[in-house]
Homo-oligomer: 144 residues x 2
DNA sequence: TTATAAAAAGATTTGAATATCCGAATTCAT
DNA sequence: ATGAATTCGGATATTCAAATCTTTTTATAA
């Protein structure tokens, strides 16, 4: 469903939301260390998120990343679209060429459409603020 | 969501269902030609489906593949499980290690669970017989 | 019984996603 | 100013799914 890249992006963004706004900036090393993700790869991903205005980044000592807007205003849908593009939200389930033409939908087309809409809605409804809240209210210590 | 391999498998199985039971066996060349899929790759896939009792295969002249049971008795769920395994039906949406342990579900866990169940239900409810019927009832000529 | 047509099986290649590396640019603190 | 810490950007390496190739096995038909 989601690429590794998207998954990492989401987890990193949630991590940032968890520590926002008390801390302003967090560096790659800390994030990748806490989430147990490969640092150089995560760096690339955050770079893309920054270029797409979901993150602010600053270089130099005490540099790092911070959410570019209020955590409650960033949805998983935005993150996924930036990283993976729109494919999961509009591609034919079984990759039939003619499914995109008029009058020849694939046999799963309409049945899948409602599921696809559910998926899209799920991602659109989840924002980093809410997810961070959920984590904070959990009993056990949370290891992202 | 689905691997190419699964998509090809599904399309080939639907193709067989469309021509069953009037024709008994169909060869790789015909299927790959009609569906515009790479023949050697499709051969591998059908091999796996045959090994897992979803297809019958016979070698030699006039050999080929046929559905191992009535089209209405083969669901997409079975096909996907044979090819891709169970991952899409049980993996954590964001691949969090702790999501499989007690008390530390990922923040998307419960929200995703219902969507995942929808997906599973969709695949379990679709059988090759029904899909083939749908195609036959379409107005335009259908190019799988 | 032999030639042929097909699938099976295994080895290899390709390509895209994933991951790493390194030099450049930027910022901060001294 | 200088050095150190950090992200940036481009190039490179690795891995795995996807695709191909080659040889073997089996079945059919002449």
């Amino acid at each position: 469903m989601l690429s590794n890249t998207s998954k990492y992006a989401i987890r990193a963004m949630i991590y940032l939301a968890l520590h926002t706004p008390s801390v302003k900036k967090i560096g790659i090393k800390q994030i990748s260390g806490e989430l147990d993700l490969p640092a150089p790869f995560l760096a690339k991903i955050l770079q893309v998120l920054a270029k797409n205005k979901l993150l602010n980044s600053s270089k130099g000592p005490n540099g790092g990343f911070s959410l570019a807007k209020d955590a409650s205003k960033i949805t998983l849908y935005e993150i996924i679209r930036v990283i993976d593009g729109n494919d999961i939200f509009d591609q034919c389930l079984i990759s039939m060429r003619t499914c995109y033409e008029e009058g020849t939908p694939c046999p799963m087309h309409f049945r899948y459409e409602s599921v696809r809409n559910e998926i899209k809605k799920m991602f659109q409804e989840q924002n980093l603020g809410g997810l961070a809240e959920d984590i904070k209210s959990q009993e056990k210590i949370f290891a992202l």
